[in-house]
C-alpha cells in the first residue's frame, strides 16, 4: 500500500475519532434554553434578569447577591387549591436532597401579591419547616414577578375562570450560576423530579469542576 493511502486512512480515522469525542461531549453538556443572540461575534445566552426581590424576612435582594450558586426556582401562591401543594412537595424533596450542599439554593416566587405578604410568606416558610437561608420565598411588584416568570419560561397569567384567579404552570426551573436556564422538570410529577436530580447533579459537576 502506498504512503498516500496510509496517510489517507490515518486522516480519516483521526477525523472520525475527533467527531466521536466531540459528539460525546455535546451529549453530556446540558443545553442553554431560550433564544441566544450573537453580539460582535460572541454568543449571548438567554439570561434571567436580576430583579430586586423581597424575601420572607423583608430583605431586598438580587439573585447575584447570593454569589456563584445553582438555583432551583418555582412560582406559586399560598392559597392555591390546585397544583401548588404538589409542586412545593417536590421542591421539598429537592431541598432535602441538597440542603447540605452550599452550591444550591431554592427560590419560590409568589404570584399573589395581594394575599401573600412578607408576613404570610414568613409564616408559610416556618410551617414548611425549612431553612430560609437555603430556600427563599420572594415577592415583588406583580408586573415584575410576571415578567420574571416569563424569563424563567414559566406560564403565569390572570385567569378569572381558574381557581383563585391564576393560571400557572408547575415547572421547577434550574438556573446556572450565570442565571442561564439549563433545565426544568414538571413539579407535579414525582418521577420527573426524580429524573431531574441527575440533571442538577450534572450541572453541579460541570459548573464546579
Amino acid at each position: 500500500m502506498s504512503r498516500l493511502k496510509y496517510s489517507f486512512i490515518l486522516v480519516v480515522t483521526i477525523t472520525f475519532l475527533f467527531q466521536l469525542v466531540g459528539c460525546k461531549n455535546d451529549n453530556n453538556a446540558l443545553p442553554f434554553l431560550g433564544n441566544r443572540e450573537i453580539v460582535n461575534g460572541d454568543t449571548i445566552q438567554h439570561t434571567v434578569p436580576d430583579y430586586l426581590l423581597t424575601d420572607q424576612d423583608s430583605q431586598q435582594v438580587r439573585i447575584t447577591s447570593y454569589g456563584n450558586k445553582v438555583f432551583l426556582a418555582d412560582f406559586f401562591f399560598i392559597s392555591c387549591p390546585s397544583i401548588c401543594p404538589k409542586v412545593q412537595k417536590q421542591m421539598l424533596r429537592l431541598y432535602d436532597r441538597y440542603k447540605d450542599d452550599s452550591r444550591v439554593m431554592l427560590f419560590s416566587h409568589t404570584i399573589d401579591q395581594r394575599h401573600d405578604s412578607v408576613t404570610v410568606l414568613h409564616r408559610y416558610a416556618h410551617n414548611l419547616g425549612v431553612d430560609t437561608g437555603k430556600w427563599k420565598f420572594f415577592t415583588a411588584e406583580k408586573d415584575s414577578i410576571f415578567a420574571l416568570a416569563d424569563d424563567y419560561f414559566v406560564s403565569v397569567v390572570d385567569d378569572p375562570s381558574a381557581p383563585k384567579g391564576f393560571d400557572h404552570s408547575g415547572k421547577i426551573i434550574l438556573l446556572d450560576k450565570n442565571r442561564h436556564v439549563r433545565g426544568f422538570c414538571e413539579g407535579t410529577d414525582p418521577e420527573s423530579v426524580t429524573a431531574f436530580f441527575s440533571t442538577v447533579d450534572k450541572l453541579l459537576a460541570t459548573e464546579y469542576k
Binding site: 399560598i78 392559597s79 387549591p81 390546585s82 397544583i83 401543594p85 404538589k86 412545593q88 412537595k89 421539598l92 404570610v120 409564616r123 408559610y124 410551617n127 414548611l128 419547616g129 425549612v130
Partner: protein
C-alpha cells in the same frame, strides 16, 4: 411386629403427592386473599379522594409539613365520623397556627360523602364500620344547624 402401620388400620396410603398445579393455585389463592384482606374496598371513595383531596393532601396522604398535616397522624379518622363529614363539607376557614385554609366541598352528594368518609376511615384508621348515607344526611343537617 408389623412393618407398615398403614396395614394396621386397613388401607394403604399413597405418599402425599403435591403437583406443581396445586402449588400454583395455592399461591394464587394466598395472593388474592392477602390482597383482599389489605386493600381498601371503597373504590369510589378512593376515586373521590383523588379528585377532591389529593392535590393538597397528596396521593399518600403525607401532606406538606405543618401546612397540610399528614392524614396518617390525624386522630380525626378514629373519632366519630360526624366531625369528618362536617369538616369535608364546610372546610376550615383559617387555621390559627398556620394561616392555611381548607376549602369546603359542597358538591359531594350523600352517597359520595359516605364513600369518601368510609375510604378515609378505613385507609388511615383501619376503621371497618361503615357510615351509611342516612347517617351522613343526619350529620349534615346537624352541621347546618350549628352554623
Amino acid at each position: 411386629m408389623p412393618q407398615n402401620t398403614n396395614s394396621l388400620i386397613g388401607f394403604n396410603r399413597k405418599p402425599l403427592q403435591i403437583s406443581f398445579r396445586s402449588l400454583f393455585y395455592l399461591f394464587i389463592g394466598i395472593i388474592l386473599c392477602s390482597y383482599s384482606c389489605h386493600s381498601n374496598p371503597y373504590r369510589q371513595g378512593h376515586e373521590l379522594y383523588k379528585v377532591h383531596c389529593e392535590s393538597c393532601h397528596m396521593a399518600d396522604g403525607s401532606g406538606l409539613g405543618k401546612l397540610i398535616p399528614s392524614l396518617d397522624s390525624s386522630g380525626l379518622f378514629r373519632s366519630t365520623p360526624e366531625c369528618l363529614i362536617c369538616l369535608i363539607r364546610h372546610g376550615i376557614v383559617k387555621n390559627e397556627l398556620t394561616g392555611q385554609q381548607m376549602p369546603g366541598n359542597e358538591i359531594l352528594n350523600d352517597v359520595e360523602m359516605a364513600n369518601l368518609v368510609n375510604y378515609l376511615r378505613q385507609e388511615y384508621a383501619g376503621e371497618t364500620k361503615a357510615v351509611t348515607t342516612d347517617e351522613v344526611k343526619t350529620c349534615l343537617a346537624t352541621c347546618k344547624a350549628e352554623e
